[in-house]
Symmetry: C2
Subunit: 137 residues, 2 copies
Amino acid sequence: MKLSKRGEYGLRALQDLAVRYGAGSVSNKDLAERNNIPPRFLEQILLTLKHGQIVRSHKGPRGGYYLARPPQQITLAEVVRLLDGPLAPVSCVSATAYEPCGCPDMEACGLRRVMQQVRDVVAQMMEETTLGDLVAE
Amino acid sequence: MKLSKRGEYGLRALQDLAVRYGAGSVSNKDLAERNNIPPRFLEQILLTLKHGQIVRSHKGPRGGYYLARPPQQITLAEVVRLLDGPLAPVSCVSATAYEPCGCPDMEACGLRRVMQQVRDVVAQMMEETTLGDLVAE
DNA sequence: GATTAGTCCGACTGAAATTGTAGGAATTTG
DNA sequence: CAAATTCCTACAATTTCAGTCGGACTAATC
């Protein structure tokens, strides 16, 4: 049930970008230093975030990254799905990557019912929490 | 956020044992066949479940496995923690495997707050759901 | 227009976890 | 004793994870 380092680092970096939203771009180097993330690794992560339309960037000196949308419009679910894959604990209850499991009777499977509930509550929390919520006080 | 095959297979097998609780022991072979689990792999899983005091066994012909306690006294949390490790999405909010993360300010970390909530709600669901609940109708 | 700070991209690598398999010893039933 | 079963340890294939590296490209600044 654990998030990968990619996910963790990515979220930390985005939280940092959310704090600074509107104040220009932040370089990979700064993000890495402030958040204790291996810089070369973070570079890779930011690139996937860019391809996923979550951040934008510009190059050259004084270049860097910034959020592609206001923090209130970026949900944790979106980020985690991009960096870490589906939220569901088992694929037979996944909204985004459904696959049947090998249980004898799908309908009667109590396990599936409760895993579905777990997925639903986690998905709901992640979907209704935005980067904006993270940095609001 | 996904459960391992170990966890999934283990839970499926235990659900099966819960249905048959009180009616003697079930062999690894039967469990494997009924639940579509590689038998040799399941054997290994059942062994860890045994060491974790969740099942008992007896050997020889007509031997097999059975729950060590009534299904109502075995929680999903216990099983998942045994087979899959901590429930927390990040280790800085884990009850059973706490480790500090690298974020600049632990207290101010919004990410940590929401991850804590996710952990709490998942842990609560898993802790209050028993094998008995799985097979009740 | 050269320098320099930065992103962009793909390839690579080492270590660890995951998902099993295999062999054989021990035990119990019939 | 024969057969069925668990127990235990070791091994192996594959995949994933976490991170590194080299170098191309781009833009700002002096």
